[in-house]
Amino acid sequence: MTSIDTDETGLGPGWVRACPTSDIDIDTAFIVDVKPPVAVYHIEDGFYATDDTCSHAESSLADGYIEEGWVECELHYAKFNIKTGAVMAPPANRPIGTYPVQIVDDIVYVDLSEHRGCAIAALRP
């Protein structure tokens, strides 16, 4: 289990190792097993991270369909912008949080302390 208090990665507290870049094909996502889970996406212009849990009814967004920088939840087809977390299609009514990502030596790292945007983590403890 990753902890966000210690500086295990050497990148600063909050940074956790997600996976090697080669583990995530283009237009797919990887789930970082933290609470709440985080999805790391590989899209055309790089790697991005958001909350994995759909803000509508708790489905995993990493299982969703990814195209042109958005992810569509497979349960009721809410759509989110992967870079901003903004809702692009209902039935979700709240954005999802996003996180900074860094690549060091072909490994993807995510900064869990830098949760940006609407905090579903706070709403759903």
């Binding site: 009814a57 489905s59 299982d63 969703g64 369909y65 195209e67 569509e72 497979e74 349960l75 009721h76 087809y77 209902p90 039935p91 009514n93 709240r94």
Partner: protein
């Protein structure tokens, strides 16, 4: 005629989507969104599911987080009681009125009455709005014997919620196959079996004689003589479209307000969309009332374009979902015919999908916990291209990418 004021009667999904689409089409005139409920617009699907199990605030269900950017006149808790078409007046119960060049009727429907003696006893519920769901929730958690009347999607969703609360649940229905209207015989039967596996007793092909009880319901008497003990009864026998206003002004009504594919009625200033509307079927002949979230959104957007005289958005393939137990059930297109069905996965397992093929083309899809496949199928059906049965059966083929590459 230039349109400078639009009234939308019914502030729910269709009305909200229409208002949003009016703005995104560039319309900057007045929009009066008038709703009979005391809440701002919210989504109904959780009412038969999450709202019954957890305490859910209205804000969680709100269709929008903020309204200011739409710059509209949102009027809640007001019933429109009269449309004076020559005077363009939309008159509300309180006497308040607005003037409108175009009126959209997005009045949805009301839960249909059972029409059996005893249906007004306490402990007898239906689920159409947030108050209904809260009232049912208040009693559901203590209920021992729950009888659900009707095996359509709302009946089955409530059955699953009631089982999750630990009650003994019996579903009684005249129709033999659950959810047959939306799922067809094969998949409806499969869903019925899943309910039995979860401990729901399914009594099909039998009607209700009466509900017993003095002030509170105590039992349900079936017309085959069986008496089922019940401390809670939920009536889920469909909905009656709210067509009063349309009838008042002489619009054509046939099981809903009859409209064309864009929501136009026989009066050029009046439009209708969503659950209240009967429209040309997506494919083939005939008029259909689609009762789904997706239709409300689609038709809400299409009718906005029609009211402004803008080109209509492309009509999407019909899609519907229902969540029951741990099943996310999805269906798209036509799944009524059993002509050729290609399976992807095992129908006895927790997740699989099925594709209905006609003349080498995909016409419909059904899935449990495989929403991705249904989404892909929607694109393939829309593209109307020949699809190989091997690709459909192969779980490693992403159907949406296939549809994209065939464009």
């Amino acid at each position: 005629m230039t349109v400078s004021s639009i009234a939308i009667v019914g502030a729910s999904l269709t009305g909200t989507r229409a208002a949003e689409a009016l703005r995104s089409q560039g319309y900057d005139g007045a929009i009066h969104l008038i709703g009979g409920e005391s809440h701002e617009p919210y989504e109904r699907p959780p009412l038969s599911k999450r709202v019954l199990l957890e305490s859910t605030a209205h804000a969680d269900l709100a269709l929008r987080q903020e309204w200011d950017s739409l710059a509209l006149d949102l009027i809640t808790d007001e019933h429109v009681v009269e449309l004076d078409t020559p005077g363009r007046r939309v008159v509300m119960q309180s006497g308040r009125e607005v003037i409108a060049d175009r009126v959209l009727l997005a009045t949805g429907g009301a839960a249909r009455d059972l029409q059996a003696p005893g249906e007004r006893l306490t402990g007898v519920h239906s689920v159409r709005d947030l108050e209904d769901a809260h009232a049912l929730r208040a009693e559901l958690h203590a209920a021992e014997n729950v009888v659900i009347i009707g095996n359509g999607f709302i009946g089955l969703e409530v059955a699953a919620s009631a089982r999750a609360c630990g009650a003994n649940v019996t579903v009684v229905s005249l129709t033999r196959i659950p959810m047959e209207r939306s799922l067809g015989a094969r998949w409806g039967t499969l869903i019925g079996r899943r309910h039995e596996r979860e401990g729901v007793v399914m009594r099909t092909g039998v009607g209700i004689a009466e509900l017993h009880g003095t002030s509170r319901v105590t039992a349900v008497a079936l017309d085959d003589g069986t008496v089922l003990p019940a401390d809670l009864v939920i009536v889920g026998v469909g909905m009656t479209p709210r067509t009063e206003l349309a009838e008042q002004i002489g619009l054509t009504v046939a099981g809903g307000i009859v409209v064309d594919a864009l929501g136009a009625t026989s009066n050029p200033a009046i439009f209708a969309a969503g659950d209240v509307a009967v429209q040309p079927a997506w494919r083939g002949e005939g008029l259909v009332r689609y009762e789904s979230f997706h239709n409300a959104e689609q038709q809400g957007a299409a009718v906005a374009a029609a009211m402004l005289g803008c080109p209509a958005p492309v009509r999407e393939v019909p899609w519907f979902w229902s969540d029951q137990f741990d099943m996310n059930i999805q269906v798209t297109g036509e799944v009524q015919s059993e002509a050729e069905i290609i399976l992807r996965g095992d129908p006895d397992s927790d997740a699989f999908s099925a594709f209905h093929v006609s003349d080498g083309r995909l016409v419909g899809a059904f899935a449990i916990n495989q929403g991705r496949d249904v989404r892909g199928a929607m694109s393939l059906i829309a593209a109307d291209v020949a699809v190989s049965t091997e690709a459909l059966a192969d779980p490693s083929v992403d159907l949406r990418r296939l549809a994209r590459s065939s464009r």
